[in-house]
Symmetry: C2
Subunit: 402 residues, 2 copies
């Protein structure tokens, strides 16, 4: 049986016809050695943004069904161009829309979830020794309407196809070399991982490491698909994202990331009554304000202090809601700090290594960095610190552990 | 029962977002008065050419299936943008790809023929008081591959939908005011028809009057769909294309057209044996050389002279084939005249009015224009003349009849 390889190329990897030619050459090396290759492609470069701009000129609040109809053309252009490029170097290929491979999703336009993929047409193409090229990011609902999976959804398409086909590997080609212990642009000595676990990747992705779409990692974890993050421009091994059992040894800290542009909100003297937190965060969620770190002190005299972080650009939207909450519940005055950052260390090894948190706090203290809030999960420790000290905090923690 | 109106807007009518807004406003007036409106749209402006250019950079001979996959995105962009524009002025709309309305075609990529349309989804949209917007130019074959109908195919899509729905009218919006007795840019005093027959329109279209795609006119004739050619920029009545019975009186000449950039080929002393014409024109057809006027003299001494016209740019391709024919059949030397034009007068009235041809030849003679070849059909008379005299010939014949 030939190996089945699923490869996904992002928008920057197919941004020009020359780049498409390079992608075609890379696919050819796999096809020539007898692999069955299924390729998932995103829209070229800034196509999606350009289409959104066109729609914006017509309607400030365009219907989501029609936006999905519009945006899905970007990937359709990429898949056909890639098939055309492959044909010119003698590699038979066949492109497919989401509709053609029955990438069935729910009807939640612009953020649809994949429910099922019909592998028939992909298998047919592979059986004819053709490369199957599938448009990422798009699917269809039960009525045959075109849906899209949300930004970065092509990663999810690729992993879903790999899971459906039982592929040996899902290669995600991108413009970085792999997954690093910290952003190499910010931290000297950041190292590339050979392997990392799904959970670490999930924590890193949600912290803004930005290499993989979180949903794709969750899906890969659920179906045990090995994700291989690689550069589409260099021929280097990259990083494998695997299950915990496939890692021989668990290093304590596999990545350090920082999230800037955050704001901290503190509300003192919140009455300690059931449902009060739900009331507060429910109101924010309704207005699409994403809350990250939440810390609530133990009650004293029937009053709590609740602190949480939101992105700085959502402050304007959040404040009126918070003031309504303050008035309704007669809490203390809102304290707002818009000059904070969140620094996090992630590592599966934390589960079995004690003292990681203490070591992290000490590294920050040694560098005179004040910790304003702390939260921990099984594999992550996050500290809210003054934004001005973000860079030195990143370096201190990276040096300490890696 | 509300009236069902099918409207088709060409690429220039939806070339910019401002133009799309205008189209939306026009549709709104129909929707507001209770009509059921189905709209067929072409790709915006030069989109199709730009996509072809991208493909050309990758492959000088791209697979036709993949070209259809690529080009069909142009119409998909237009239909979604139009739906978005309609929504912004309060008109509910729903866009559909060829696949979604099951515009079933044969599998002849880039020049597919429509076999059937499923009206279910269009009827659903109309039943919900929505404007149904269907991507022109595209369909799907039995396997679900995307096909296209060839250049100008959106006219055909619109007429096919009108026929399927039993629509009262198929309005074709374009950048000209209607169908004229001659090209108004070339002939002073050219008049716009209120009505014209399918057959006249067919002769005029194939002669390069260029308002309607011939296939759409044939289809309209077969299904008795009234085509209404109108300007998308002005609010004027335009021209109705109808069956012969719907014309009260048949004027003798309804249009005069000229085709430039033609070349005449004469082969003398062709042996008068069965199959010789088939041999000659079969070879040209195989090389996709389109032959227009053909004249064969009566045989004398077992030899014929065969003359015909081809487009000037296909001369280079045709010559080697013709020389092969000459050698194989020991005919006389090829005579080539690359400075000719074909002028034609078209009119259903010719059938019942005698002397139209004689009157046309006299008008040319009175202006010292030499006629090199003549062919006639029931409703058309064509003369090959020197290209330099084209303009005065056009004026002479137009003045004579109109």
């Amino acid at each position: 049986m030939p190996r089945i390889i699923v490869q996904k190329y992002g928008g920057t990897s197919v941004g020009t016809t020359d780049k498409i030619k390079n992608v075609a050459k890379r696919i050819k090396t796999y096809h020539d050695r007898g692999d069955h290759v299924v390729v998932v492609v995103s829209a070229m470069g800034h196509t999606t943004d350009e289409l959104i701009e066109l729609a914006d000129k017509l309607n400030s609040n365009p219907p989501r069904r029609e936006m999905d109809m519009l945006l899905s053309t970007g990937e359709q252009v990429s898949v056909s161009l890639l098939a055309i490029a492959l044909d010119s170097i003698g590699v038979p290929a066949r492109s497919f829309t989401g509709s053609q491979v029955k990438m069935m999703t729910d009807g939640n336009f612009s953020n649809a979830k994949i429910e099922m993929i019909d592998r028939t047409r992909i298998d047919e193409a592979l059986g004819e020794n053709k490369v199957a090229i599938v448009a990422g990011f798009q699917g269809i609902d039960k009525e045959g309407n075109i849906t899209t999976l949300g930004r970065g959804g092509s990663d999810t398409s690729a992993v879903a196809i790999a899971a459906t086909l039982g592929a040996n590997e899902c290669e995600i080609y991108t413009d970085v070399d792999g997954v690093f212990t910290a952003d190499p642009n910010k931290v000297n000595g950041a190292k590339m991982h050979e392997r990392i676990t799904y959970d670490e990747m999930l924590e890193l992705a949600s912290l803004g490491a930005g290499v993989l779409h979180s949903r794709s990692v969750e899906l890969a974890k659920n179906y045990d698909v090995v994700i291989h993050v690689r550069s589409s421009f260099k021929d280097i091994p990259g990083t494998l994202v695997v299950s915990e059992e496939k890692l021989m040894e668990h290093i304590r800290v596999s990545g350090v990331t920082i999230k800037n542009e955050e704001a901290r909100v503190t509300i003192p003297d919140v009455p300690d009554k059931p449902g009060i937190a739900a009331e507060l965060f429910g109101a924010l969620a309704k207005a699409d304000v994403i809350v990250d770190v939440i810390v609530q002190s133990s009650p004293s005299n029937g009053k709590n202090t609740i602190s949480f972080t939101i992105s700085r650009k959502s402050v304007k939207e959040a404040l009126p809601l918070l003031e309504k909450f303050v008035e309704a519940n007669k809490t203390g005055k809102i304290e707002l700090n818009e000059k904070i950052a969140i620094i996090s260390a992630v590592g599966v090894g934390m589960k079995s290594h004690v003292g990681v948190a203490a070591q992290m706090f000490k590294a920050l203290a040694d560098n005179n960095i004040n910790i304003e809030m702390i939260t921990t999960s099984e594999i992550k420790i996050s500290c809210v610190i003054p934004e001005a000290q973000g860079k030195s905090a990143l370096k201190a923690i990276h040096d300490e552990f890696i």
